[in-house]
């Protein structure tokens, strides 16, 4: 349904379908809102809070996250007010103290004029955005990893921190990770994701003979799609 409530983002009017998020509406206008835990393939998770914007509705101002705030009524959005900048800067400063060596965080910090965090530095590489966990369960559908531990001390790992039978070593977790906290190594026909205790032999492409995908992943795909394994033995490069 097309509705036309008065929606103004940074002084510019826009018409959107009811329920469009502020983030998507802003994108249409070419207004950049930074995000870390958001990915268009997934439901908004609203955990990093970096996309916080200020809205004014019925004369009252409020801070909301752009990634999941649905536009349904007359509203004014400010994506770059002083309050918004202050909030984002503190969020990045907090993340920088936790992950001072992660490129995407360092870049954000630099952009916002933060040289050194005022908090004690740690040396983490994961920001617990959950993209890997959500991809593994919602996109791939194997649920091999999750958050382990409690609250502030949570980490991403497999159950009991041992190799998971559910893991097909597909590497989607590493692909989607914004901080590079999950690394994949391939050597001598074996793919390894050390952080998640995964190690699987790779299959060779029927055409070029190069290693291209874990054997378990091919087994899994054949089973999921109920097709002969044979159908999955060609690598993407050689695929017609």
């Amino acid at each position: 349904m097309i509705v036309m409530p008065e929606i103004v983002i940074d002084g510019r009017r826009i018409e959107v379908d009811e329920g469009t998020t502020i983030l998507n509406a802003a994108k249409e206008l070419g207004v950049h809102i930074p995000t870390l835990c958001y990915h268009e393939s997934q439901e908004p998770y609203a955990a990093c809070r970096l996309c916080t914007v200020e809205i004014e509705r019925n004369g009252r101002s409020k801070m909301v996250t752009a990634c999941n705030y649905p536009l349904t009524e007359e509203i004014e959005v400010k994506t770059n007010s002083e309050k918004v900048r202050r909030t984002r800067k503190m969020i990045v400063e907090l993340l920088l103290a936790s992950c001072p060596n992660v490129k995407i965080i360092r870049d954000l910090a630099k952009e916002m004029g933060i040289e050194e965090p005022r908090f004690k530095k740690e040396d983490n590489d994961c920001i617990l955005c959950g993209l890997c966990v959500r991809t593994c369960s919602d996109i791939v559908g194997v649920e091999a990893i999750s958050f382990v531990g409690r609250g502030v001390d949570s980490e991403v790992d497999t159950p009991f921190r041992v190799a998971s039978d559910a893991c097909i070593c597909c590497g989607c977790c590493a692909y989607i990770c914004p901080t590079g906290a999950i690394e994949i190594e391939e050597k001598d026909g074996v793919r390894e994701i050390k952080k998640l205790h995964a190690s699987q032999p790779l299959e060779r492409c029927k055409v070029c003979g190069n290693y291209f995908a874990p054997k378990v992943q091919i087994d899994w795909m054949a089973k999921q799609l109920n097709q002969p394994r044979e159908n999955f033995m060609v690598c993407p490069t050689c695929k017609p």
Binding site: A47, R49, Y69, M90, L94
Partner: protein
């Protein structure tokens, strides 16, 4: 107990008359408090001793024993109250039992040593309701705990139980029930303070079936136990409220979410649900009204954040208790994305009296914005700790001094912390503040679920803030960055300040982080987490400055900043400190007070010397 299922309001009335006709109000009845608090004092043994003694003295036909839930005066438990005279005995143990039975129950004599003695006047008080702790309360909701064996539905029925349900089902439309609750202006007593009637209406009008109703008994604030005590002591009042709410909202399935750490609440609620089902208050065609509704109990695995509505519904769905990001209310999209009405225990328990006695009766006490009563758990450095129910708008002073009997050992009051770990600390200058939702928020604290922790002059306010932040660090779900990283860093800074590493700018940095937590956290745990810091900075800034600038803890609490010294003029050389010091840090020659000293390099500041000294000869500087 009846075996028949009640099929109509007249069946219920008949049963009520039957129960009442069997009860002789003149018959002696001993009421024994057996809530979790009194059980910790050994009340189960006291109950067994009474049963044995009454059997031994052949009084079984003349005396009833009623084992009840919490009476509230936990400071003096286990409590035994003998009716009809209402003689109240405090701190009763098994050795007192035979005296009570032979002297009081048999001879009608009062045992002086077991009576409550007012510490301020020295007066001994006989009747429970005359004890100042009870006298200044208005126990609308909690009062029935004294009269009910929670394991026996007939005790509840005898007190007009389930008559509000009859009125709702047979005399009122669902809309009229909602209107009554709206008119009463009942607000969410779990802390949110959201108008209950409006929430019910939203759920009723929200598209989507089925609709769910939930009792939130995930009380997790340190030192707060009012919901537990209601759930343990009078589960049917909550169940009746829930059924009425379900009827008003149009729900046929309800849940009672109780934390597993409340085993007695789980036990009594389970029994109460079974009994309610057997009597026909739950299930199909309740009392012949045509309304179907049933309730399941869910035992939560106890995480503070699970009390948040979206986290609680996640748990019921079988997921980890983490709040969901959303701008749609649970009332519209909650459990399994269906309209869900969630209220806390105390809110539900207020529903039956509102339906029975009307909105005007309910709203006859309270303040303009907050009506009715609120149960607080009054704890800390106050003489009478326990659960107190007072009208909204009573001042903090009346609660702490009138009911609580003032500060222990006549020390000076310093602050009262209301609203649980993310509430604020209120100073002496605001003691005349009327307690209601809006007034507490105005001074930077909140009602919360009703925790009230009293602190005296020996409390360090920076250390208090540090303590609450350490609790919140443990209980943050870790999902959103401001809460997870912000709380961690604020705790780090506070720890530095209390350990002598505070530096210029720390206060401002705490304020800066606080602002972002308030504005940008995902749920209320994060947005309210700065309250203990901001209120202590606002009202006790000098203490922060003493720690940071002068490396001193004025209250003498922060170990890194204090020294224990012997006052040579007071010391008599009794040697107790030397004997008790675990580090052999104190030396001195017996009977020569002037020779005693503490070796600061060995002292671990455990405070044992201060505790054992009978001559005030140990000082903290």
């Amino acid at each position: 107990m009846t075996k028949r299922k009640l099929k109509s309001p007249s069946d219920l009335e008949k049963l009520r008359q039957e129960i009442l006709s069997k009860r002789d109000p003149k018959k002696s009845c001993i009421t024994l408090c057996s809530g979790t608090g009194c059980r910790a004092y050994g009340s189960e043994k006291v109950v067994a001793a009474f049963q044995e003694e009454i059997r031994k003295q052949n009084l079984a036909d003349e005396v009833d024993i009623r084992v009840t839930g919490c009476h509230g005066f936990c400071e003096k438990g286990p409590l035994a109250v003998i009716y009809p005279e209402e003689i109240c005995y405090t701190e009763v143990n098994t050795e007192d039992v035979s005296d009570i039975v032979s002297q009081t129950m048999r001879e009608g004599q009062i045992i002086d040593r077991l009576l409550y003695k007012d510490p301020n006047t020295g007066e001994k008080i006989i009747r429970e309701s005359e004890i100042p702790f009870y006298k200044h309360q208005t126990r609308r909701i909690f009062g029935n705990n004294l009269k009910i064996d929670p394991k026996n539905i007939e005790d509840y029925i005898a007190l007009d139980g389930y008559s509000a349900l009859v009125r709702a089902l047979f005399e009122l439309t669902p809309e009229q029930v909602i209107d009554e609750v709206k008119k009463a202006n009942l607000r969410g007593l779990g802390g949110g303070g959201f108008p209950t009637g409006i929430k019910w209406e939203t759920t009723r009008n929200a598209p989507g079936e089925p609709k769910y109703v939930i009792v939130n008994c995930d009380e997790g604030d340190p030192g707060a136990y009012m919901d537990r005590s209601l759930m343990e002591g009078n589960p049917h009042s909550v169940i009746e409220g829930l059924i009425i709410g379900a009827y008003a909202i149009g729900s046929h399935e309800g849940f009672i979410y109780v934390r597993e750490e409340y085993p007695l609440a789980v036990e009594n609620t389970t029994i109460a649900l079974d009994q309610a089902r057997k009597y026909g208050f739950l299930g199909r065609n309740i009392l012949g009204s045509g309304f179907d509704f049933d309730i399941s109990i869910y035992r939560g695995a106890g995480a503070f954040v699970s009390g948040e509505s979206s986290a609680l519904t996640s748990v019921l769905e079988g997921k980890v208790g983490k709040p969901k990001p959303k701008y749609v209310h649970t009332a519209v999209s909650g459990l399994w994305e269906k309209p869900t009405n969630l209220n806390n225990v105390e809110t539900w328990a207020n529903v039956p009296p509102i339906i029975n006695k009307g909105a005007d009766w309910f709203a006859s006490i309270g303040t303009e914005g907050s009506k009715g009563t609120k149960i607080f758990s009054l704890v800390g450095k106050v003489n009478n700790t326990g659960l107190v129910e007072v009208p909204m708008g009573m001042t903090l002073r009346e609660v702490i001094y009138g009911i609580g009997g003032g500060i222990i050992k006549g020390k000076k009051f310093k602050a009262v912390q209301t609203g649980g770990p993310s509430g604020g600390c209120i100073p002496e200058s605001l003691l005349d503040l009327p307690v209601d939702f809006d007034e507490l928020t105005k001074v930077g604290s909140m009602m919360g679920s009703g925790g009230m922790i009293v602190m005296d002059e020996d409390t360090c306010m920076v250390d208090v803030a540090r303590y609450f932040l350490s609790f919140l660090r443990e209980e943050s779900c870790g999902k959103c960055v401001p809460c997870r990283e912000g709380i961690k860093r604020m705790l780090e800074i506070l720890t530095d300040i209390t350990e002598g590493r505070g530096k210029e700018g720390d206060i401002e940095l705490l304020e800066e982080v606080s602002e972002v937590l308030r504005d940008a956290s995902l749920c209320a745990l994060g947005t309210t987490a700065p309250n203990p810091i901001l209120t202590t900075i606002k009202y006790f800034r000098d203490e922060y400055e003493a720690h940071i600038k002068y490396k001193k803890c004025p209250a003498g609490v922060c170990k890194e900043l204090i020294e224990y010294l012997i006052d040579l003029e007071q010391c008599t050389g009794c040697h107790r400190c030397v004997v008790n010091c675990p580090e052999e840090a104190i030396t001195g020659e017996k009977k020569k007070g002037e020779t005693y000293k503490i070796d600061q390099s060995k002292c671990i500041k455990c405070g044992v010397c201060l505790d054992v000294c009978k001559f005030d000869a140990v000082e903290v500087r």
